[in-house]
């Protein structure tokens, strides 16, 4: 799955040579074991990864088989309907790990990313560790922590019927769940609700995050995007390929 590879930003729509504000509040670190290679004691390895992440102020953590630290509630009642909390539940994520999966932690500050990666290198958990982020930030993190990159994968953006994609701000919100569980229509609804002052950006971001089934939705970046939408700014329209004119 490429659930963190193609997170939309205006960089996917820039003209060649055009400067676009960098994304500086969205860094994902995830751990993945290989069957028969390093998946022995996998539950404890993944828990060690997440416990270490919690020491470095993540904005979300998650397990691909059970979700992030904000999850849907199965048994709401009229009495607690109005008292729904937005308090993250990291213990539920840790307790829910029960076998093969991928676990992830999301950070909104580079310094926290760097400190976590540095701690991971020292912890030597043994599973594969990846950063999904702007490539220059990931490269910088590797240099800062003394880790030579092993492999890289670049997102080249979207082709084909790009006219079917939603507007930029909606796309930026919905692609933060790369599995596609946050629908464009729901993201648009939350943008409208924030504009109408029916919900705060933090409340709207929490609604969206509950649909992400692996916990990589960045609620802090979502809050920023939802807040910016009040001004009417809607970013660049999607276009084919990353910074490449259609041929």
């Amino acid at each position: 799955m490429t659930n963190t590879l193609h997170r939309y930003s205006d960089h996917y729509a820039r003209e060649p040579g055009e400067d676009v504000r960098p994304v500086t509040d969205d860094y994902i670190v995830f751990a993945m074991a290989s069957k028969g290679v390093n998946d022995d004691g996998i539950v404890e390895k993944y828990r060690a990864f997440l416990k270490l992440a919690l020491e470095h102020h993540p904005v979300n953590i998650g397990d691909a088989t059970h979700g992030g630290w904000l999850r849907p509630q199965r048994n709401l009642t009229p009495t607690n309907h109005w008292k729904r909390g937005r308090t993250p539940d990291p213990e539920a994520v840790l307790a829910g790990i029960d076998g093969p999966s991928t676990v992830a932690a999301v950070f909104d500050k580079y310094e926290n990313l760097k400190a976590f990666v540095d701690a991971l290198a020292k912890a030597d958990i043994g599973v594969s560790i990846n950063i999904a982020a702007p490539m220059d930030a990931a490269h910088r993190c590797c240099k800062d922590t003394g880790l030579p990159r092993h492999s890289v994968e670049y997102s080249l953006g979207f082709r084909g019927r790009v006219e079917k994609l939603p507007e930029a701000k909606t796309l930026e919100l919905s692609t933060m769940c790369g599995h596609g569980m946050v629908s464009a229509a729901f993201a648009r609804k939350m943008l409208d609700w924030v504009k109408e002052n029916r919900r705060t950006p933090a409340e709207a971001a929490a609604y969206l995050a509950r649909f992400c089934s692996c916990g990589v939705f960045n609620t802090k970046r979502a809050e920023r995007l939802l807040d910016e939408a009040r001004s009417g700014a809607n970013g660049h329209a999607p276009r084919e390929d990353a910074g490449k004119p259609a041929r």
């Binding site: 509630q73 290198a121 990931a138 880790l147 492999s151 994968e153 979207f158 084909g160 019927r161 599995h179």
Partner: protein
């Protein structure tokens, strides 16, 4: 997925949460209904919405009064008040929809939850993409458009003609009736999925020809295509791919970086040639 008409109160909360836009409230029934052809069985509505278990008759009565009085509703937008969403037992070939659309269902072919394989995310212990090679992940339907296998087959056939090496453990590859020609099983061609990923590997110098092929075929499809390309770095962490992509006119911004921290810990497991930088 279906919505139980005995439970549904027509609140429409489920309408926008569907990634495929497959749910609408029927004016005739005043109940939400699922367009079975558009639904990809991703279970987003069922799993993602919180649930109350209110009495449908009571809720409908309240809603009728509120509607008559033109009260402005301000409900929680992610709640099904009567737990009306009901999964159906899926049979072949429709079951393929869920296998590719619901990331919490592991593929039998890969053992991994999701639509692809580990790509280069575990390259430090698998050596799947080695020096001098490039891996491609070509994804169809995402974000939010969906794809039919008949469109995906146009791409697999074109790639096969180049030729390329399809990743044998990839779920799409397992649905090919003839891998050398990229032909998919005919009984799944009409099935729609939230997304599907084709994974291939080529020698590094062939990256431009694959990119050109993907560009050309994408123009003939009814969906969107998202492309990722990967390679193994040199021992000092440098890599030749970014420069090649820039020569091809791309300005890639985002991606994944494997830090090389994985190591073999299962006793007796063998490292593929030139794969692991570190060993236990």
């Amino acid at each position: 997925m279906r919505i139980d008409p005995k439970k549904c109160v027509g609140c429409a909360n489920c309408v926008p949460v569907c990634p495929m836009g497959a749910i609408a409230v029927s004016p005739a029934l005043n109940r939400a209904v699922v367009d079975a052809d558009a639904c990809v069985e991703c279970f987003t509505c069922y799993r993602g919405m919180s649930k109350e278990h209110l009495n449908p008759v009571f809720v409908r009565a309240v809603r009728r009064v509120a509607k008559w009085a033109r009260f402005r509703f301000d409900p929680e937008p992610d709640v099904c008040p009567t737990d009306a969403l009901t999964p159906e037992e899926l049979t072949w070939p429709r079951i393929v929809r869920r296998a590719f659309s619901d990331p919490q269902v592991p593929h039998e072919s890969t053992g991994i939850h999701g639509r692809g394989t580990a790509e280069v995310k575990t390259n430090d212990v698998t050596g799947r993409v080695n020096a001098g090679e490039a891996g491609f992940v070509i994804e169809f339907g995402r974000p939010g458009v969906g794809a039919r296998f008949r469109d995906i087959e146009k791409m697999t056939k074109a790639l096969a003609a180049l030729p390329v090496a399809f990743e044998p453990m990839n779920p799409v590859t397992t649905l090919m009736s003839d891998i050398p020609s990229g032909t998919l099983r005919p009984d799944i061609l009409g099935e729609k999925v939230l997304s599907a990923i084709v994974e291939i590997k080529v020698q590094f110098e062939r990256v431009p020809s694959v990119l050109a092929c993907v560009r050309d075929v994408s123009k003939k499809l009814e969906t969107v295509v998202a492309v990722g390309v990967s390679t193994r770095c040199h021992p000092d962490g440098s890599e030749p791919l970014q420069a090649l992509l820039e020569r091809e006119g791309y300005a890639p911004y985002r991606g994944k970086t494997n830090l090389g921290l994985g190591r073999i810990t299962v006793p007796g497991a063998k490292a593929p040639p030139a794969a692991a930088r570190r060993s236990a």
